[in-house]
C-alpha cells in the first residue's frame, strides 16, 4: 500500500476539520474559558478600586487607563471576541449534544454535579447578564451621553463611578447582580477544572491542586465582585 500521507497535499483544510471535531470545539471552549477566567480575575481586582473612599477617583482613572492604553485596548477586543466565541460555540455544542438524544428519559441519569449538567443554562444567564451589564456601563461609557464628567488635576475624566454608585443604590439591581454572580460561580465550579480536563491535564499529583484552585477561584472571584455592589448599596443607605 502506498503511503497514506503522501496523498495529502499541503493544505489548511485540517484546521476546519480540527475545530469542527467534537474535541476541537471543546478545545475552543476550554481555551476561551481559561482566558475569560483570567479576564474575570483582572476585572474583579481592578474594580476593587470602587471600595476606596476617595470619591471614585482611583476607579475613574483606572477606567480611563483601561480604555485608552493601546495594548489593553487590543486585549479588550480579543476579550469581546472570545466572549462571543465562547457563547456561540457553547450554544452550538449544547444544541448538537441535545440532538444526540432525540427521545428523553422519563427519569434522567445523574451521577454528575448539577452545575456540570447545566452549563448551558448557567452560561445563558451569564450572557443575558452581560448584555445588561455592558449596556449599563460599557456602552454608556464609550458611546453614551449620560455619563457625567469630573476633573482631577486639570484633566477631565468620565465619572463612571457616579454611574456605578447610582446603579447600585437600587436594591433590585444589586439582587440581579448577586443572582448572576451565583450563576457565574456555579459555571466556574465546573468550567475551571473542566477546561484542564479538556486540555488533557489530569494527573494524580496535579489534578487535586487544579481542583482546589478551581474551588478557590470559583468562589473567590464572584465573591470579590459581589462585595462591590453590596458595599456601594449599604454605603448609600
Amino acid at each position: 500500500m502506498s503511503n497514506p500521507l503522501a496523498a495529502n497535499p499541503y493544505s489548511l483544510k485540517w484546521l476546519g476539520h480540527f475545530f469542527s471535531s467534537s474535541l476541537g470545539r471543546k478545545l475552543i471552549m476550554s481555551l476561551t474559558g481559561l482566558f475569560l477566567c483570567l479576564f474575570l480575575f483582572i476585572h474583579m481586582t481592578g474594580n476593587l478600586q470602587l471600595l476606596k473612599s476617595d470619591g471614585g477617583r482611583a476607579f475613574n482613572e483606572y477606567a480611563y487607563f483601561m480604555t485608552h492604553f493601546g495594548p489593553i485596548k487590543i486585549v479588550s477586543y480579543v476579550t469581546y471576541f472570545f466572549i462571543l466565541l465562547h457563547a456561540i460555540d457553547g450554544i452550538g455544542l449544547a444544541l448538537k449534544n441535545r440532538q444526540a438524544r432525540p427521545v428523553k428519559y422519563a427519569a434522567n441519569p445523574k451521577g454528575s454535579s448539577w452545575a456540570s449538567r447545566n452549563m448551558a443554562v448557567l452560561g445563558t444567564i451569564i450572557l443575558v447578564f452581560l448584555v445588561i451589564h455592558l449596556k449599563q456601563f460599557w456602552f454608556e461609557y464609550k458611546f453614551g451621553t449620560s455619563v457625567p464628567s469630573v476633573t482631577y488635576d486639570g484633566t477631565e475624566y468620565k465619572n463612571l463611578y457616579a454611574v456605578v454608585v447610582e446603579a447600585f443604590s437600587q436594591w433590585w439591581y444589586v439582587l440581579l447582580y448577586l443572582a448572576s454572580l451565583v450563576a457565574l460561580s456555579y459555571h466556574l465550579i465546573h468550567g475551571f477544572q473542566s477546561a484542564f480536563q479538556t486540555l488533557g491535564i489530569n494527573h494524580k499529583k496535579y489534578t487535586p491542586i487544579i481542583k482546589a484552585l478551581g474551588w478557590i477561584f470559583s468562589i473567590g472571584v464572584p465573591l470579590g465582585f459581589a462585595l462591590q455592589p453590596l458595599y456601594l448599596f449599604f454605603n448609600a443607605q
Binding site: 497514506p4 500521507l5 495529502n8 483544510k13 485540517w14 476539520h17 480540527f18 471535531s21 467534537s22 474535541l23 476541537g24 470545539r25 471543546k26 478545545l27 455544542l93 448538537k96 449534544n97 440532538q99 444526540a100 438524544r101 432525540p102 427521545v103 428523553k104 428519559y105 422519563a106 427519569a107 434522567n108 441519569p109 445523574k110 451521577g111 454528575s112 454535579s113 456540570s116 449538567r117 452549563m119 465546573h190 477544572q193 473542566s194 480536563q197 479538556t198 486540555l199 488533557g200 491535564i201 489530569n202
Partner: protein, 251 residues
C-alpha cells in the same frame, strides 16, 4: 417481594413506544434484576402476551450485553455493577421501578429495551487494534512492559463495551468507551506504531456515529460498571491534540 414495574414497550425501531405498567409478586431477594425480568416474562407468556425483549447473555457481568436504565440509573443504582449483577435485595419491597432502554441517537431501539450498539463496533473498526497479522508476532518477552503501565492499560482494557457511558451522559457521548480503547493501546509499546493514526480515525468515527461531545460531567465514570476512570478521557484529549497537531494525518 412485590414490585410495580413501568417498562418501556416499543414494537420496533419505527414504533413510538410507551410505558406499560405491570405488577409483579413472588420476587425473591436473591434474584438478580434480570431474573426478576424473567419472572415478569414468564407471567406475560402465561397470559399469552408478548414478553419484554431485553438484551442479556453471560449474566456474570462481563459480556456487556445487558442494558437497562433503572429508575434513571444505567445498570441500576449500585456502583460498578451491571444489570445482571444487580440483585433485588437492593430494592425495597413495594417499590415502583421505571425501566427504560439506553437512549441515544446512535443506539436505535430494536424492540422494547434492546438497542443497536453497532456504532461502538464501528469505532473499534476505525482503528482500535494493532495491525499484526497472525504469525508475524515477535517473541512475547522480547519487549518488557513496565508493570504499572501494563496495569494501567488493563484498567482501561476492562471496558465491556456495554454503552452505559453513553446512556448516562447527558450528551450521549461515547468518549469514555473511546478513551478506554485509545488509552489501552497508547499505554503499551505494542500500540505505538499506530498511535497517532488510531486516535484520529477513532475520534472521527465517534463523531460520525452521532454521539455527542464530552462536557466532563463525569456521569459516565459514575455509572461505568467496570469503574473506568475519566482520566482516560483526559489522556484521549492529549493523544488527539498531540496527533492532530504533530502528525501529517488528515483529520
Amino acid at each position: 417481594m412485590k414490585f410495580t414495574l413501568k417498562v418501556w414497550r416499543q414494537k420496533n425501531a419505527k414504533d413510538t413506544g410507551q410505558f406499560e405498567t405491570y405488577n409483579i409478586s413472588e420476587v425473591e431477594n436473591e434474584m438478580s434484576f434480570l431474573e426478576m425480568m424473567d419472572v415478569l416474562n414468564q407471567q406475560l407468556i402465561k397470559e399469552k402476551k408478548d414478553p419484554v425483549a431485553f438484551d442479556h447473555d453471560c449474566r456474570e457481568g462481563i459480556c456487556g450485553m445487558c442494558s437497562m436504565v433503572i429508575n434513571g440509573h444505567p445498570h441500576g443504582h449500585q456502583k460498578a455493577t451491571t444489570t445482571c449483577q444487580l440483585h433485588m435485595r437492593s430494592f425495597k419491597d413495594g417499590d415502583t421501578i421505571v425501566i427504560e432502554p439506553w437512549r441515544a441517537k446512535a443506539f436505535p431501539i430494536l424492540r422494547d429495551l434492546a438497542v443497536d450498539r453497532s456504532a461502538l463496533d464501528n469505532i473499534i473498526q476505525a482503528g482500535g487494534y494493532v495491525s499484526v497479522n497472525t504469525g508475524s508476532a515477535p517473541e512475547a518477552n522480547a519487549v518488557p512492559v513496565p508493570q504499572d503501565m501494563a496495569e494501567k492499560a488493563m484498567d482501561a482494557a476492562e471496558c465491556i463495551g456495554c454503552g452505559a457511558c453513553v446512556a448516562a451522559c447527558k450528551n450521549s457521548s461515547a468518549m469514555l468507551f473511546l478513551s478506554a480503547k485509545v488509552s489501552h493501546l497508547a499505554l503499551l509499546p505494542q500500540g505505538q506504531p499506530e498511535r497517532k493514526k488510531r486516535v484520529i480515525s477513532m475520534m472521527k468515527a465517534h463523531d460520525e456515529a452521532g454521539f455527542g461531545s464530552c462536557t466532563n460531567t463525569g456521569a459516565c465514570e459514575a455509572y461505568c460498571p467496570k469503574g473506568i476512570s475519566i482520566t482516560n478521557i483526559a489522556r484521549l484529549n492529549r493523544e488527539f491534540l498531540s496527533a492532530a497537531l504533530t502528525s501529517e494525518y488528515e483529520l
